[in-house]
């Protein structure tokens, strides 16, 4: 493998193992061999979903969670920040999707597995608050392993605080769409991820409460490979649609046109 070009140019598919050039993965980051959906960064997702030049970040909350308690947590956070160029596991702003203006949040699984901590929770609350103020629909793209253990109960209770913000948004007649992407699990699924008016998901995204290994341990069974897949959830009545990545922008635009206008 001495001839392998520099990292980043060629990437092995996590599903089939085939190596493909960057240009072959583009523009949707889908494996040309097996159709595997690469997990997108928040920036890649923005590029795919919103009209060029329309994204404006929401006012910076300028807060960080105190990282005392866990000596390695501060270092982990710093590593995640360097790796992703993000301050936290979510990006929030206002943008247009095929000219339909909305408030949009995008979680990034490359940042500590998109885990829900206090800052992420407060930014999700901000999404709903700004959505109410500006009378705009909220689009939230989820990707998360669940609550961030290192912040303990303060992270767990973001589940209830974000839901309270969502309730206030709903009371104002707000319209919300969630796009569930791989992975959306645990405390995130058991709070804001499944509580939007419309639930879309990417093909083959893993969406669930408990992790596969935990369930296998609980029931002493071997689960089929597609268990907790978006397609399975659709058949069980948990989602409105599974939307291929290339059609996601058009699907969101249609929904925003139909449901997003304030009365």
């Amino acid at each position: 493998m001495g001839h392998m070009p520099a990292a980043g140019t060629w990437q092995a598919c996590p599903q089939c193992g085939e190596h493909h050039h960057r240009l072959e993965w583009a523009p949707w980051q889908i494996c040309p061999s097996c159709g595997y959906y690469q997990r997108l960064t928040a920036q890649q997702r923005l590029t795919q979903l919103v009209d060029q030049g329309t994204f404006q970040p929401l006012p910076d909350l300028a807060m960080t969670a105190a990282t005392t308690g866990f000596p390695d947590y501060a270092a982990k956070l710093a590593t995640a920040q360097t790796k992703t160029g993000l301050a936290e596991a979510i990006v929030v702003g206002q943008a247009a999707i095929d000219q339909q203006v909305c408030v949009i949040g995008i979680m990034d699984s490359h940042f500590m597995m998109g885990s829900l901590n206090q800052v992420v929770g407060q930014k999700i609350c901000q999404l709903f608050e700004v959505g109410s103020q500006r009378q705009l629909p909220v689009v939230l793209v989820t990707a998360s392993g669940g609550a961030r253990m290192q912040e303990g109960l303060a992270a767990l209770t973001q589940m209830s605080l974000t839901l309270a913000a969502k309730s206030a948004f709903d009371a104002q007649g707000g319209f919300s769409i969630n796009v569930l992407t791989d992975p959306t699990m645990g405390g995130v699924t058991a709070s804001f991820a499944l509580q939007a008016d419309i639930l879309l998901a990417e093909p083959a995204a893993t969406i669930g409460f408990a992790g596969r290994r935990v369930i296998e341990q609980t029931d002493q069974v071997q689960l089929p490979a597609d268990f907790q897949s978006a397609e399975q959830l659709l058949t069980r009545g948990m989602l409105d649609a599974v939307v291929p990545r290339a059609q996601l922008k058009a699907q969101l635009a249609q929904l925003l046109r139909l449901g997003g206008k304030s009365a």
Binding site: A65, T68, G69, A147, L153, A155, M159, A164, T189, L194
Partner: protein
């Protein structure tokens, strides 16, 4: 220290929610079923009179005998349980009944059936409804409560914890595995004990855990006081108070 506490609150002889209900709500009526799939015996939901006032009460059952432990899955509440709970909450709002929850559970049911029946959705709906309740709610930790499964029962105006109970993002064992720290160290790294959470302002009263009779008597006194204090609050005040209460845990700078 913590291993001892865990052994105690997980033991078959620990004060159960059914025992509390029998003593404080002797004329209790049990709701059964979520009107969709089944009844979850791991969570008792019903109503009865406390000091002349009807309350909605939900209590987790860990089970005492081996058969009970199996039937109740050790207190891991299923989606059917959370949906029954939400059904009770709506009734309580309609009838202006305060809501009391009794918590000692290992987290929500993580089985295949639970997943298929929409565990995440059931928990999310219960957490949201608890936050938006227009009547007062009080959570009582008889033992441990972990993850979103416990939060669904704990998103309340008042939180009481017995001395050796825990409220945590995950079980000490799960934290140990994820964070690679010994079980006994977890409570030193994060506030999860009754005492630590009282210091943070989340827990309103730490109740002594001695013998069952004293424990129930102490709870009775606390409930009387809290229900009286909360009786005059408007729905908006109650909703706002829950937010403020749980925001106290934040360590944002």
């Amino acid at each position: 220290m913590m291993q001892d506490a865990l052994k105690k609150i997980r033991g078959a002889h620990w004060l159960s929610s059914d025992a509390v209900i029998q003593q404080l709500w002797p004329d209790f009526f049990r709701l059964k079923g979520d009107r969709l799939v089944a009844d979850d015996p791991a969570l008792t939901v019903g109503f009865g009179q406390f000091e002349g006032q009807t309350c909605l009460v939900a209590g987790v059952n860990r089970g005492q005998t081996l058969t009970e432990r199996q039937t109740y899955r050790g207190g891991a509440v299923a989606p059917t349980g959370y949906r029954k709970f939400s059904r009770g909450l709506k009734l309580a709002m309609k009838r202006h009944w305060p809501v009391i929850t009794l918590i000692n559970m290992p987290g929500a049911d993580a089985s295949l059936a639970a997943e298929k029946q929409g565990q995440s959705q059931a928990i999310a709906a219960a957490i949201q409804l608890m936050g938006q309740l227009t009547v007062p709610n009080i959570a009582v930790f008889l033992g441990e409560g972990e993850s979103g499964g416990a939060l669904a029962l704990a998103n309340s105006n008042r939180v009481f914890m017995y001395q050796h109970s825990l409220f945590s993002v995950a079980s000490p064992e799960a934290m140990q595995a994820i964070l690679k720290r010994p079980v006994g160290e977890v409570d030193q790294l994060l506030p999860i004990t009754a005492q630590a959470l009282q210091q943070q302002g989340l827990v309103d009263a730490v109740l002594p855990d001695t013998d069952a009779n004293t424990m129930v008597a102490a709870l009775k006194t606390q409930l009387q006081t809290a229900l009286m204090q909360l009786a005059d609050q408007t729905p908006l005040q109650l909703q706002q108070q829950r937010l403020t209460k749980f925001q106290q845990l934040q360590t944002l700078v």
